[in-house]
């Protein structure tokens, strides 16, 4: 027997849960402005998330998927991207979306049952949130193909969860990206759970990073609670992609501290102790500590940040709550460049009965 191929999966962490460097820190970690920006956004994201859950509880928002505990993974990904790159997220990566310039009001509108939430004023080319799991991996590959064909210096990034790595579309996307050396980065945010299915029951592969081997592209596992690790490796992957070296898979290991969504009750299927243990290694603690150890952060700044964040979130919520319902016609008028004449009767019918059939909030 002859060995004809071999592979290694590496793991990277720079900051340990206490915020102490656990490896030679990369250049990025010495740029305190970058770190502070990211930390602030992580905090804002968490404040936003808490508020959104409250809005749902009080009947002012629909079902909502919390991002609690994912802030480093989400912000780290987007912070590594350039504005004219394109993101194809799934449905809970608010840290990434906010970093890309999506507004909180837009996110709330989406979960509040209003399509205008996906009409981002900021990142006009980013894909909207994607509910059908792993389908967006193919959109990212397609976007990357467009960039490659046009000779543009741009990359696409998709994000899906651990659960999404069981879907065929995930592998198909990696395979075409490998075959064509597409400028795309596939992010898997492994938060250990796909609703009630723990990662061990999803797959026999010990890491999700190794799934890259099937596509002949590099795969790496990083500590998804360490924003330095996430951003560093996404930056490296994007650099490779821009150099024409093709796609990468990055697995960011984190934990879903919340229920799956506000419609879920995770106490049915997982132990509180597991959640508590995960809380001690969550991503905000360590970067905050690191910044404090660097002497660039303190209690006062923290208080001010929290206050500012609350104000920002409140303003966004106000704007959301005061957004009138979309017009009835809007359900027709964006279906095609032009609504077909022969279907105009349906549109008129809807307008005639507008608002007569119960009502959703607002």
């Amino acid at each position: 027997m002859e060995t004809i191929a071999d592979f290694e999966v590496q793991y990277s962490q720079f900051l340990d849960p206490e915020g102490k460097p656990s490896a030679d820190i990369p250049a990025l970690a010495t740029d305190t402005e970058k770190l502070l920006d990211m930390y602030r956004l992580m905090t804002v994201t968490r404040v936003f998330d808490t508020k959104a859950i409250n809005l749902q509880r009080t009947g002012k928002l629909g079902t909502y998927a919390s991002c609690l505990g994912h802030e480093a993974a989400h912000v780290g990904i987007a912070a590594a991207m350039r504005p004219d790159d394109v993101l194809a997220p799934s449905y809970r990566e608010y840290g990434a979306m906010l970093c890309r310039g999506v507004t909180m009001t837009e996110i709330l509108l989406y979960w509040g049952g209003d399509e205008r939430g996906s009409d981002y004023a900021g990142p006009r080319n980013d894909f909207p949130m994607c509910v059908p799991i792993a389908t967006q991996c193919l959109h990212a590959a397609g976007a990357a193909m467009a960039f490659q064909l046009r000779g543009e210096d741009r990359c696409a990034v998709s994000i899906n969860g651990d659960g999404g790595t069981s879907e065929g579309a995930f592998y198909e996307a990696m395979n075409i990206a490998g075959a064509r050396k597409l400028p795309v980065v596939f992010m898997v945010v492994n938060n250990k759970w796909a609703i009630s299915l723990p990662i061990e029951m999803q797959t026999a592969s010990k890491t999700l990073a190794q799934k890259a081997v099937a596509a002949g592209i590099p795969g790496i596992q990083v500590d998804g609670n360490d924003i330095i690790a996430v951003r560093h490796w996404v930056e490296r992957a994007l650099e490779r992609a821009r150099n024409g070296e093709g796609a990468c898979l990055i697995e960011a290991v984190t934990y879903r501290l919340s229920d799956h969504t506000t419609a879920d009750d995770s106490s049915r299927y997982r132990k509180q102790e597991e959640v508590e243990a995960a809380r001690t290694v969550e991503p905000l603690i360590r970067i905050r500590q690191y910044l404090m150890d660097l002497g660039v952060w303190d209690k006062k700044k923290e208080t001010k940040l929290l206050n500012d964040a609350a104000a920002k979130v409140d303003a966004a919520v106000e704007k959301y709550l005061h957004t009138p319902k979309p017009d009835i016609e809007s359900m027709f008028d964006h279906m095609y460049a032009q609504w077909p004449e022969q279907l105009e009767e349906q549109r008129q019918h809807a307008i005639r009965y507008g608002g007569t059939n119960g009502d959703s909030h607002g």
């Binding site: 059908p132 799991i133 299915l197």
Partner: protein
């Protein structure tokens, strides 16, 4: 006898069959420990074990494909797809394999599986969680499509679907999962598929509907009854193959037909019913066949979803219009 909701009745039916037929297996995303996102399988894994009630990885095409493989080798899988918006990765397996395993092997291998999925709007659900695309499955030869609209029918029809030697796509109107309760005896008695159920007898007009829309329709009809209008309400129930005899008989009596469904209008199942009556019952008709349906648009997110749906008001108006023909 127990007062149960539609979803309880489904759980009861699965429990009965798991108990009585060792070849029955329940599988799907979150159906085990969690008991299903709608709790249709609540308690089943505890009672029957992890072999009989299995949580699967997240891949609908896989769920359909392994179910076909199991069914062809003598099991009776009941697979749950979490929402109809996620049923599309199964389409290839369902149309290319489930619906033709028996035919292409001349009966050597068969496919006694049930593919369950909640469908329909009106529960303020997120994007992709409110679709009604039963017509796509109704167009597939070799596939039965069944939709219950009451706890009693849910129990009896799910039993029938599981026991059927051929594949059944069993669609559950999630909006009425818990809307009302009925006394359902847990006696393992199946109800017949392939037939319509008449919910109201009447002689003025025939209204055919199914799923959650039976409720809108019955409300409309009850209001009209106060004006002395007697509607015959037929719950189609088995969407394919269609029991058109019952519909034709009714139209023969009433001379008028309205069809109500939540799915988009174009090429919905309503079209097939209209087409059958326009062929076989046209001389009984006193006027146009009308459809009250969802529009030919993507189901709007929930702030506008009710404006998409056939409402009691829309149904009443169309019935009244039909009566003026």
């Amino acid at each position: 006898m127990a007062e149960v909701t539609l979803i309880d009745a489904l759980t009861m039916a699965m429990a009965w069959e798991l108990e009585h037929d060792p070849s029955v297996v329940v599988l799907g995303e979150d159906v085990g420990v969690n008991g299903g996102v709608f709790r249709a399988t609540a308690g089943l894994q505890k009672k029957f074990g992890v072999d009989r009630v299995q949580d699967t990885p997240l891949a609908e095409g896989m769920i359909a494909g392994i179910s076909i493989g199991m069914a062809a080798q003598g099991m009776r899988p009941i697979a749950e797809i979490q929402f109809m918006g996620f049923i599309y990765p199964t389409v290839d397996q369902i149309i290319n394999h489930a619906g033709r395993m028996r035919n292409r092997t001349r009966g050597r291998l068969t496919c006694p599986m049930v593919l369950r999925a909640p469908f329909g709007g009106g529960i303020h659900a997120p994007e992709h969680h409110s679709e009604s695309t039963e017509a796509m499955f109704a167009h597939m030869p070799g596939i039965r499509v069944v939709i219950p609209s009451s706890p009693t029918r849910a129990y009896g029809l799910l039993l029938a679907a599981i026991r059927d030697p051929d594949p059944v796509v069993f669609l559950e109107p999630k909006r009425i999962y818990r809307l009302n309760k009925q006394d359902v005896e847990d006696n393992g008695k199946a109800l017949p598929m392939d037939v319509c159920y008449i919910l109201r007898e009447g002689s003025d007009i025939t209204v055919v509907t199914w799923g959650a829309m039976t409720f809108e329709t019955l409300k409309a009809v009850d209001q009209l009854a106060r004006k002395g209008i007697r509607c015959e309400v037929i719950d189609l129930t088995t969407i394919s193959p269609i029991d058109y005899e019952t519909i034709l008989e009714s139209v023969q009596k009433t001379g008028r037909l309205v069809i109500v469904h939540e799915a988009a209008r174009t090429c919905g199942v309503g079209a097939e019913i209209a087409a059958i009556v326009a062929e076989k019952g046209i001389y009984d008709l006193q006027g146009p066949i009308r459809r009250v349906t969802g529009y030919d648009v993507v189901m709007p997110l929930f702030r506008r979803e009710m404006d998409y749906m056939p409402s009691v008001g829309k149904i009443i108006d169309v019935i009244q219009e039909s009566l003026e023909d």
